[in-house]
Amino acid sequence: MVASKHLFKQKYILGWICIVIAILPLAIHNINFHHVMILLVMYAALGQAWNIITGFTGQTSFGHAAFFGIGAYTSSVLFWRYMLSPWVGMLLGAVIATTVAFLVSYPCFKLKGHYFAIATLAIGEIIQQLFVSWEYVEGATGISLPVMGEGFLQLQFHRSKLPYFYIVYFLFILVLVTAYLVEHSKMGYYLKAIRESHEVSEAIGINPTEYKVYAMLISAFLTSIFGSFYASYILYIDPFMVFSLPLSMRIVLLTVLGGLGTLYGPIIGAAVLIPLSEYTRIFFGGTGKGIDLIIFGFLVVAVACYQPKGIVGLFQKLFFEPSTAGGGKNG
């Protein structure tokens, strides 16, 4: 009874949040605001995808930029060299990212806790170094995507950012629904069992490695899609941008800030963090002195110190009974 009521509540609130996000760019006509909203939705989705492997399953990944970068590079190279639609590249990139995830995750899931986290970090760095010295994809110079006429097929719009927003919004809803379905399926419960105790989950007949790999594959697939989108949006990529550790950490940061292992977490985290970092950058970034990141760093520390359960924890304390807590354990 109580559980189903909670389920209803969560669905309900998530629905309202999504509707508000969809309407906001229509209500406020400002190019900076549209840009911030696009990034917000993209990072919320990236956090959601990362949440599947780390929040639900408890396997901390510091290397998700690798999947993002693979998506970005696959669609960009195909578009730039062979004039293939970014949509095809997006799908192909996701397949490649999933394959890479499969190849690296099997050996990595032998490792536990921090050893796994450092392994994902190492893999991310190796992939970055390979792209930096890979001639075919222009190495460290990066790829500038050719500017074409506007169109859905080539995923380029020049007069307005709104089409980009609704495309990324659609992809975001796709990720959200996937994350919701994963969380409420049998697999979701298996994943949470694995998070709470590897040994116990094994004892009750779950194959932890198998399910961890499934979670990783889903997570990598979804992450890669946004890499392709990002490349088409920015029209320029280089390895230091799309494969960078700061990008991986940004995904980690916003999800933990919002609330790890919850569906709201990444959305709330992105809604706080992305406008904060983008607007401090817009206002103070021009000085080139890093004031924006000083403020940003300070606020992150402050939230961590005074609201250790993330912003979701704060909301739960204010609006819900304490039993709805969803923040997971980790490490």
């Binding site: 450092i118 890093g290 990141l293 354990k329 980790n330």
Partner: protein, 284 residues
Amino acid sequence: MLTQIIATGILMGFVYSLVAVGLTLTWGVLDIINFAHGEFLMISMYSAFWIYTLYNVDPLLSLPLTTIMAFGIGYGTYKVIIRKVVDAPGLTALLATFGFSLLLRNLAQFLWSPNYRFINQSFVADKKLTLGPIIIGLPQVFAAIGSILMTLAIFYFIERTKTGRAIQATALDKHTALLMGIPTEKIYALTFGISGACVGVAGALMSTFFPIHPQSGALYSLLAFVIVALGGFGNIKGALYSGILIGITEAVGGFLLGTQFKYAIVFLMYLVVIQIRPKGLFGW
């Protein structure tokens, strides 16, 4: 030629070890990944630089001062930030240290500009040591010797002294240690201070032959993560040996496959070793 490269790698490895020893202490005792560790190193390098520039004191002479200051930074960081997140669930502590590293790195950029700075006039600068076929720079030799001494001192402190044993006990089980009368709160603060002192020494030694800039700590903290994991978390001996191993791998790998791949090789080696020893070389 190869002996020359291996020798350089070993010398660099000792410095890496010292940075990693600092990291492994906080990691092992508090179970906290300190992402700001590299920034502590960067600040130590800057303080050596400023003491040198303003008061014309050689970095090797001002080393004790830099170390005490770095100890203070570590101690203060614990008191102000880490204390609040040490028992928080999930990855909150990581959030705090990562935010703090961003803060420090950009504060350094704000205060001292992103320019590369060098200490040219240290009394070890531009001097070479020739041992048969091997020619090595005196700054590297001093850095290696200083790092070895500091690592040994830390090792002795942790293994032999009463306070060191209290740190070990706290690392094993905080609550039991508290019941045995160990002031764990003080031990935590002390551990962070010592961790800072490690990079204080490393920073002062490295400032004689490395460019100093706001990003200069980032790479070493990344390497230190890998070294710590390779050696086994909280294991000082492990950090020492794997630091040397990483130093050699970096030098030889860079020589054989090109310098652009040297870090890729280091990370790859971690992935290979960890397959055979899933808890690090010296973990159990």
